[in-house]
């Protein structure tokens, strides 16, 4: 290892404490043509998620008579990485698209939209560590913006291990040089895990602690998702309390 990821005071390269999230910002409704959309800036990640649908299913034979199908595409633009990314769809993108789809599906009330498809596109304009969690967090906000019935939002955040310490929210450098990364997504109100991955090396007690950190990170992201939606739809206003107008 060439880089020291933590200094003597356990402060990370970018100045964060062990349990500190990178700055996260979400803008709702950034793509006019889409039924719902969101831009997330998560550290250096800049990712746009857009939702189209529910709409008719193409090709038709994929139609489910009693529920909607979800199509998910996580894609990185060629300029999003340090060295240019080959624009063709990689195996990594296929896998991430799949796990994100399976992280969002539990939250969408698919039975409310029989015979239709809900399309979720995530375009990574600039990538940093934790792009899958950032992308799905944006996608969940975009689904809410599209007015699709959902059981809960889905909030994602990774935790991991760097320089021998368990930390929240791994960035690019920490991902490359660190010891473990645990991308996690939850439905915060229902307390359920919808995405879980791990790569790296963790003892069992480290596993448990990293998981706790990841959940805490997801809860922080959730607050930002809520605020973003509230801000878009309600601004600073207070709900009217008189019962007639």
């Amino acid at each position: 290892m060439t880089t020291t990821l933590l200094n003597a005071d356990k402060i990370r390269l970018d100045g964060r404490k062990l349990d500190e999230l990178r700055p996260v910002k979400i803008d709702v409704g950034v793509i006019k043509n889409a039924d719902g959309s969101a831009l997330i800036e998560f550290g250096k990640n800049k990712i746009i998620a857009a939702v189209y649908g529910p709409k008719e299913v193409h090709p038709r034979h994929l139609t489910k008579p009693d529920r909607a199908i979800v199509k998910c595409r996580y894609h990185m633009t060629p300029f999003s990485t340090d060295t240019r990314k080959n624009p063709s769809f990689s195996r990594r993108e296929i896998e991430i698209s799949k796990v994100i789809r399976q992280a969002l599906e539990p939250a969408i009330i698919l039975e409310d939209y029989p015979r239709s498809s809900i399309e979720v596109y995530m375009e990574v304009l600039q990538s940093d560590g934790g792009s899958r969690c950032a992308a799905l967090s944006a996608a969940s906000v975009a689904l809410a913006d599209a007015g699709i019935n959902m059981r809960d939002l889905v909030a994602g955040c990774a935790a991991g291990k760097i320089g021998g310490e368990i930390v929240l929210d791994i960035d690019d450098t920490e991902d490359k040089e660190g010891e473990a990364d645990m991308p996690t997504a939850i439905m915060p109100s229902l307390g359920l895990v919808t995405l879980f991955q791990l790569d790296g090396k963790l003892s069992e007690s480290e596993f448990q602690k990293t998981f706790e950190f990841a959940i805490k990170g997801c809860m922080k992201v959730y607050q930002i998702q809520r605020e973003a939606l509230m801000n878009k739809y309600f601004g600073q206003s207070e709900p009217m309390q008189e019962s007639t107008e």
Partner: protein, 278 residues
């Protein structure tokens, strides 16, 4: 001719029978909830491979072949050997498998298998270098699913670990002028740890270990955890469109670590004795 079926259809009757059995702590095939199917491993099944293994896990059958060849390093890792993992569910493997490029399931299988090898540091890639920036060893691990009855992550991991543990690499000499001569003699491809996968499925709120195809088609979600010889977690993957509670994840970590110990013992016995049935 019968209609083309896209996936396994599990009958309602089977589902309710399964539910009944699960309540009693049993499964439709008679297993206990956390019981693995019969596992057998054979190594050295493909002579032309540098290392190979056939794994049978219940009716699932997988062959993994490792090939160690000379290659050029990636520009950003000039002092590291290469690892390339692929997986294919062959069209013979089930009525639902189709020829063609790997689908997302097969890609996921390859990528999770790759993570297990890479993250456990099973191979010391810094030792697989002949000349920095010029010549390194490329380790190709190709997984072929011959018969699919579920548990592919687990069976593939046992096959890969067994294949790599018994693999040889060609020796090579580097001449003064930089030319490379590959020799006939070989050395062991040293492995430092045995990463093994354990997959659990959640069906009707109950957790079962090593689900077969029928169980997979009933499951809400699955969780695969990979542990190395020291009991450390090196890879994980949730699958399926269902969910886990926080406590289920915590508990599965404990169970996975325990089961890993037994499985590694079976693999070690195979590597030492050539084949092993449990």
């Amino acid at each position: 001719m019968s209609a083309v079926r896209k996936a396994v259809v599990v009958g309602t009757l089977r589902k309710s029978q399964m539910k009944e059995q699960l309540e009693k702590g049993k499964r439709l095939d008679g297993r206990d909830l956390l019981q693995q199917r019969k596992l057998s491993i054979e190594t050295g099944v493909i002579e032309k491979a540098s290392g190979s293994a056939r794994v049978r896990l219940g009716d699932t059958e997988i062959v993994a072949g490792a090939k160690v060849e000379m290659g050029r390093p990636f520009p950003d890792t000039p002092d590291q050997g290469l690892l390339i993992v692929t997986a294919e569910v062959l069209p013979i493997a089930s009525a639902y498998a189709e020829p063609g490029p790997p689908n997302e399931e097969a890609i996921e299988l390859a990528r999770v298998s790759d993570r297990g090898i890479r993250e456990s540091e099973m191979l010391d890639f810094s030792k697989l270098v002949i000349k920095k920036g010029e010549h390194v060893y490329s380790v190709f691990v190709d997984v072929a699913v011959l018969n699919d009855d579920g548990g592919l992550f687990d069976a593939a991991s046992y096959a890969i670990v067994s294949a790599l543990s018994t693999a040889k690499r060609p020796n090579a000499t580097l001449a003064e002028d930089g030319s490379l001569t590959v020799l006939d003699e070989t050395s062991d491809l040293e492995v430092k740890t045995l990463p093994v996968a354990t997959t659990f499925a959640k069906i009707d709120g109950k957790i079962v270990f090593d689900p077969n195809t029928e169980e997979q088609s009933m499951m809400d979600a699955r969780l695969t955890l990979v542990t190395d010889s020291e009991g450390k977690f090196v890879a994980g993957q949730k699958g399926g469109s269902g969910v886990f509670t926080f406590e289920e994840i915590r508990e599965l970590a404990r169970t996975s670590a325990e089961r890993g110990i037994e499985i590694r013992k079976a693999i070690r016995d195979t590597i030492e004795n050539g084949s092993q049935k449990t």
